[in-house]
């Protein structure tokens, strides 16, 4: 059995990315959509780590990953606040039905 290589990581991250996109475009619940976004970010993270591990360019990638995780957390916080606010006004978080602003 061969050892785990760069490609495996890339494949995983690609799948993760796709799943994230899928979640974002299909889920009706705002929270779910946000989690989709998180998936996308993390797929990128996996890339960074993998590349910096297998590539020959220092630890830059892994540090980047840390940055991203922090930002993701911040984003999540803001997003949740907004969703909360949204729930106050709409009494639901179903993003399908939030289309007052259109055309």
């Amino acid at each position: 059995m061969e050892s785990i290589g760069l490609n495996h990581f890339l494949v995983v991250s690609a799948i993760l990315f796709s799943l994230g996109i899928y979640a974002v475009v299909t889920r009706k619940n705002a929270i779910m959509v946000l989690m989709g976004i998180e998936l996308i970010l993390n797929s990128a993270n996996i890339n960074f780590v993998a590349f910096s591990r297998y590539g020959n360019s220092g630890l830059g990638g892994q540090i980047t990953a840390l940055f991203v995780i922090i930002l993701a957390a911040a984003e999540a916080a803001i997003a949740l606040a907004i969703v909360l606010n949204l729930y106050k006004t709409f009494a639901h978080v179903n993003i399908d039905e939030i289309d007052k602003l259109n055309s």
């Binding site: 299909t26 399908d96 939030i98 289309d99 259109n102």
Partner: protein, 697 residues
């Protein structure tokens, strides 16, 4: 008596009437009697004209006076050097004689109108119009170049328009004036193009230099054909003004104007201007052009005469006789009987205006009744008018001792000689037939008006001889319709001073190969005038001699015959005209309805143009607007979904481009559904598209 004075005099004669016109138009409100000024000016003008006539003809100066000045100067034009447009005047015998005639008749009409037009609410305006007419007519007469002739040509058109439509409250009058102007314009169109050709070729409008260049062999576009064409085109102007077929239709309608106007403009002077023009350009007429002119003239005279026979409106009869006589003159020009054409122009001016003024006094007496069937027996009531009528009718019928005999006989002889030399026998045939008919319808008129029993009693009872101011002109003109003014010998005009001294024979300068044989420079000439110019060859003189006697006899015979018929039918009632009409009903109607020419024009040209313009206006509204901005489509769109469209389309999205952009915009709006996930899908989708689009292999 040197030129300068004469030039100044002629310029004054030109401007005085204009001056009168201006004053009257501007101040007629303040001074209601201002028309007297107009009359006064005309009398002065007449005196001046007499002075000119005397000075010019009594050999104080034998050569012609030419005077010209630069009107527009184009400076040094690239490739062409110095180009400028000159205006100017030429005073030769023809001019002074015309001046005399115009001023005389105009003056007489001015006086005559004092009574005839009395009480009209636009009395002053009437005299103003007469003034501007006189001005423009004199302008035509003294012009020495085509452009100036064209300018005044249009101006007489204007004055005739104003005078025909003088009683514009009557629709018929308004229509007639419009018809006159536009019909004339048709002719002028040809004339204008002719003038364009001339100027393009010779860079000048002045007759003398044009003729000189022609005799030097300079031709329009270097072709004889174009020279012919030019001649004919310019002649088209004459066709319009002198009411020749096919543009004769306006003249009879022009009788809607006041009768003195008909006497002045539509019989004596303006309509003669066409003939005058053809005489002016005679030198540049080729054989073909002359033939065309002759045929037009001949046919016109025949056509008009046949119509005149059956008309019942006294003025219409005279109108058609005018057309017919003008046809004579034009034919005379065509057959080269230059002198006789001019001669007839003069004599006709006198006796025809006499006839019109006479008919005017009759109409005046009958309280503006013009239908001859309402008249009759007036000779006892108005003897002077009757006398005038008789003399003039004799003159027009070409009976000896009258001026008419001299001129008419001459031009008939000319046509005969022409036929003899060239074999165009149709022209004299026309000529003599017309002579017959003329005599007939003129005396038909005389008889129906003055002889027999009055048909309309109470009108008859009110009838009375016209007052002095109206009779005086009749007397003068009657006198002028007699022979002794023109020649001592009542049967031999050519011995008369008029033909032998005053009016020189024609000259022509067109290239040899384009002339009639009898006008070629072969053989010795009778008397050569200007270099290169040519008078008729000997054989033509012989032909004239040969033609003289038969013409004399024939015309006398026919004239007598015509008069006889008239008496037989309308006086002694041997033949009932109505039966005659019944017998030849179709012919009768054909003549009565003027050969249906008007109807034809109405049906084709006028209706056609109007229809076309209507269609074009629709085309413009829908198609052009449509092609450019598609309102064709939008308007339909609006009408269907007006509700929404008012909001958007009329809101500035006025046309198709906008409509289309509106649709595109609508499409974009679809995308903007407001659903965040739709957006995201679209983004992903377009990203994929872009990726496929930009994959580098």
């Amino acid at each position: 008596m040197n030129d300068i004075i004469l030039i100044n005099i002629s310029i004054i004669t030109l401007l005085l009437p204009l001056f009168g016109f201006g004053l009257i138009i501007l101040f007629s409100k303040r001074f209601p009697k201002l028309y007297m000024l107009g009359i006064g000016l005309l009398i002065v003008n007449f005196v001046l004209a007499v002075i000119l006539l005397y000075a010019k003809l009594s050999n104080f100066l034998t050569q012609d006076i030419n005077f010209q000045f630069t009107w527009i100067d184009f400076g040094n034009v690239p490739y062409l050097g110095n180009v400028h447009i000159d205006l100017g005047l030429k005073i030769d015998n023809i001019t002074v004689i015309m001046l005399f005639v115009v001023n005389l008749i105009s003056m007489l009409v001015h006086i005559y109108s004092l009574e005839y037009m009395k009480g009209d609410k636009r009395f002053n305006r009437y005299y103003a119009y007469l003034g501007i007419f006189t001005f423009s007519m004199i302008g035509i007469v003294i012009a020495n170049n085509l452009l100036m002739i064209y300018i005044f040509w249009e101006l007489v058109g204007l004055s005739s328009y104003l005078l025909i439509g003088f009683w514009y409250e009557k629709k018929s009058a308004a229509d007639a004036s419009k018809k006159a102007f536009i019909t004339n314009r048709v002719g002028d169109l040809g004339m204008f193009i002719g003038i364009l050709i001339v100027f393009t070729t010779y860079h000048t409008f002045t007759f003398d230099s044009i003729f000189e260049q022609i005799s030097n062999g300079v031709l329009p576009f270097d072709s004889n054909a174009w020279l012919t064409a030019t001649g004919i085109l310019i002649f088209m102007g004459a066709v319009g003004k002198s009411a020749q077929f096919p543009l004769h239709v306006w003249l009879p309608d022009a009788m809607e104007g006041p009768t003195p106007v008909s006497a002045l403009i539509h019989s004596a002077t303006m309509v003669a201007a066409g003939v005058y023009l053809s005489l002016r350009i005679f030198a540049m007429l080729t054989a073909d052009a002359m033939l065309v002119i002759a045929v037009v003239g001949g046919f016109t005279s025949f056509l008009a005469a046949t119509i005149a026979i059956t008309q019942n409106d006294i003025k219409r009869v005279l109108a058609y006789s005018t057309v017919s006589q003008l046809g004579y003159m034009v034919m005379a020009v065509g057959v080269g009987a230059f002198q006789y054409a001019f001669f007839h122009l003069i004599t006709h001016a006198f006796f025809k205006s006499n006839l019109f003024l006479g008919s005017g006094s009759v109409i005046h007496a009958m309280h503006h009744e013009q239908d001859m069937r309402q008249m009759g027996g007036l000779r006892k009531k108005m003897p002077v008018t009757y006398a005038a009528f008789i003399v003039s009718s004799l003159a027009i019928s070409g009976i000896p001792l009258t001026s008419g005999f001299l001129s008419k006989d001459g031009l008939l002889a000319g046509s005969l000689a022409f036929a003899h030399l060239t074999g165009h026998w149709l022209l004299p045939t026309f000529g003599f037939l017309v002579a017959l008919m003329t005599a007939f319808y003129m005396f038909r008129l005389v008889i129906m008006t003055f002889h027999g029993e009055p048909r309309n009693k109470e009108k008859y009872n009110h009838a009375h001889e016209s007052p002095f101011v109206m009779v005086l002109p009749l007397i003068v003109l009657t006198a002028l319709s007699l022979f002794f003014w023109y020649t001592p010998n009542p049967v031999g005009p050519e011995q008369g001073w008029f033909l032998s001294e005053w009016v020189r024979p024609a000259e022509t300068v067109v290239p040899q190969e384009t002339r009639f044989d009898f006008m070629k420079t072969t053989g010795e000439e009778v008397s050569g005038h200007s270099a290169g110019a040519v008078v008729f060859s000997e054989e033509y003189e012989h032909a004239m001699h040969w033609a003289h006697i038969p013409t004399l006899i024939l015309s006398l015979l026919l004239g007598g015959l015509g008069i006889l018929f008239a008496f037989v039918i309308y006086h002694w009632r041997k033949i009932d005209p109505d039966e005659l009409a019944e017998k030849f009903k179709s012919l009768y109607l054909f003549s009565l309805n003027k050969w249906y020419v008007d109807e034809f024009y109405q049906a084709t040209f006028i209706a056609g143009t109007l229809k076309l313009s209507y269609l074009l206006s629709l085309f413009d509204k829908y198609v052009v607007d449509g092609i450019v901005n598609g309102t064709a489509f939008v308007t339909r769109g609006i009408s269907t979904v007006s509700g929404i469209f008012d909001k958007y389309v009329v809101d500035g999205l006025v046309n198709f481009t906008a409509f289309l952009s509106g649709l595109i915009g609508l499409g974009f709006r679809r995308l903007q559904s407001g659903r965040i996930q739709t957006y995201l899908v679209l983004v992903i989708f377009s990203l994929i598209l872009l990726l496929l689009f930009f994959e580098p292999f």
